[in-house]
């Protein structure tokens, strides 16, 4: 290595080294990216005639929000909403309860290798399968209705919560847990004293977030026959009853916002 001399450096400009050192590669990547963007935009086919016709329907839909109709399908709406809420609460409770042991098992720093592999496998499967696909399968098995929706949401909750819980456990302060172990605590006591206090706020926060997601998903799952408010919404669309659909969407937005606010309050409390 050649000696770096101060005299040679003084007066020369200093710039942050580039992330990709090779200039040909760097410029090539930038040019490639721009070319791809242009090509991608060019391949989008837009039938402007169809868009022009659709504007009317879009306008009718948007205008419906100015006069949402909560009344004419009131009983359908409340029934759907009630079903969605039951589905959400039940799926969240069951999903969270199952996620906790799987999350513990999926954290490399506290679980032995075989347990870790199995739990990570469960998480991977749950995350790989999209809710809609699972719902279609479960509707095929259990028939139309909220049972399929409940099972789908529970299954999706496991993948989501276990993974994030495991990651939080892996990022915990090792020494705090070590101190509990050094006192001669059993494994269960070690988890209760050394691990749980460290991950509790995040677990509560994630659970609240997941309840929120489950409610929104329950609206979608109705489209494939898995019950809930989504089924009512789907029917409203099929009948071109945009004012009823608008009423349902407004209710969903209202409930999601209320849940969002509630989870914020709870998270601030447990910190």
């Amino acid at each position: 290595m050649s000696e770096m001399r101060l005299e040679d450096k003084l007066g020369t400009a200093w710039r942050k080294p580039h992330f990709i050192k090779n200039p040909t590669l760097r410029l090539g990547l930038i040019a490639g990216f721009i070319a791809y963007m242009i090509a991608a935009v060019l391949t989008i086919e837009v039938d402007w005639g169809r868009v022009y016709e659709g504007l009317d329907r879009g306008a009718a839909f948007v205008l419906a929000f100015t006069s949402p109709d909560f009344v004419s399908r009131a009983s359908d709406i409340w029934e759907g909403l009630f079903e969605s809420i039951v589905m959400t609460v039940a799926a969240s409770v069951v999903g969270i309860a199952i996620s906790i042991p799987i999350g513990l098992g999926a954290a490399r720093n506290i679980a032995p290798l075989p347990v870790y592999v199995v739990c990570r496998g469960i998480v991977a499967i749950s995350r790989a399968l999209q809710e809609i696909i699972v719902a279609i399968l479960l509707v095929a098995i259990f028939g139309f209705g909220p049972l399929a929706g409940f099972l789908t949401l529970s299954f999706a909750t496991i993948g989501f919560l276990s993974k994030l819980l495991a990651e939080d456990i892996e990022a915990m302060d090792r020494v705090q847990a070590e101190a509990i172990k050094a006192s001669g605590a059993r494994w269960t006591q070690w988890i209760n004293y050394g691990v749980q206090p460290q991950v509790m706020p995040r677990l509560v926060g994630l659970s609240m977030y997941r309840i929120d997601i489950n409610f929104r998903e329950s609206a979608i799952l109705g489209l494939v026959g898995a019950g809930g408010i989504g089924a009512t919404l789907n029917t409203a669309f099929d009948r071109y009853e945009y004012d009823t659909a608008a009423a349902i969407l407004l209710l969903i937005i209202g409930i999601v916002m209320a849940l969002e606010y509630l989870s914020g309050v709870i998270r601030a409390r447990v910190q």
């Binding site: 101190a179 001669g184 706020p201």
Partner: protein
């Protein structure tokens, strides 16, 4: 009481942290372990209670080889050894009282500890210890509300409530200011004397070690290169442990003149 025989630790990376350490600590003796960072001090005390698994050798506590115990027996053996940590290692979101009582976890069943229903003698002892270190009024505060010196006092209570035979102390003063460091060292050595406890104290600060302990062991590259009274730590010895440096200022007898310190 504690005897290390040919204790060796080789990490997976191939680093030999401890090279056949032989050491004997009699009952009630407080010993300071000094040496540069990476000399194996922390590894050595963690090998004693097996937070780190020793590669070979024996760790005899009253004649029982801890290195060969199964997990149940190891748990019981760990109750005999209290540990005090660098950076305190309190569980920050638990209260001071829960942290102190967690030292009893090895003695109570899961449900008792889960419901925080500790036997009354344990609770009384926790109050007594907190009072002894001047933190009784903090019992229901959360650990992360305390200052560094206060946290370390809670750490000391947690170790002592185990009623151990031996204290393993890992850099107790590394994150404290000089005055608090002395108070903590004085508290630890006083409590050891009161209870006839043996202790191994890892410490960076040579002058502080000289002030408070009767025996110093110097570790370098995983080997013991000094074992004797603090007065034996000459310039040459310190050079042998730490490497070339001007040691005169360090070994100059530190005046303990600021003994008039508030209890808190």
């Amino acid at each position: 009481m504690l005897q290390l025989k040919k204790l060796t630790k080789t990490y997976k990376t191939g680093d030999q942290a401890l090279k056949a350490i032989d050491l004997e600590v009699p009952k009630g003796q407080v010993l300071a372990l000094i040496g540069p960072s990476g000399a194996g001090k922390s590894t050595m005390i963690r090998c004693i209670n097996r937070l780190v698994e020793p590669s070979s050798g024996e760790v005899l506590l009253d004649g029982v080889d801890l290195a060969r115990l199964g997990s149940g027996a190891l748990r019981k053996a760990r109750r005999e050894m209290g540990m005090i940590f660098q950076e305190y290692a309190l569980v920050e979101r638990l209260t001071v009282m829960e942290n102190v009582l967690s030292g009893r976890l090895g003695f109570v069943g899961f449900w008792r500890s889960f419901l925080r229903k500790y036997p009354q003698p344990d609770v009384d002892e926790a109050f007594r210890l907190l009072d002894r270190v001047g933190l009784l009024h903090m019992a229901d505060k959360r650990a992360d509300e305390l200052s560094g010196g206060q946290r370390q006092r809670v750490g000391i209570c947690r170790a002592l409530i185990q009623n151990p035979k031996l204290l393993l102390v890992d850099e107790p003063t590394a994150s404290l200011d000089p005055k608090t460091s002395r108070q903590i060292m004085r508290l630890i050595t006083e409590l050891c004397r009161e209870r006839g406890l043996a202790a191994i104290i890892n410490i960076h600060d040579v002058a502080l070690a000289q002030m408070f302990v009767p025996r110093v062991v110097g570790l370098r590259f995983g080997e013991i290169v000094f074992d004797g009274p603090p007065t034996g730590l000459t310039s040459e010895k310190l050079t042998e442990i730490y490497g070339e440096e001007d040691w005169e200022a360090t070994i100059e007898k530190v005046d303990d003149s600021d003994d008039i310190e508030a209890a808190e």
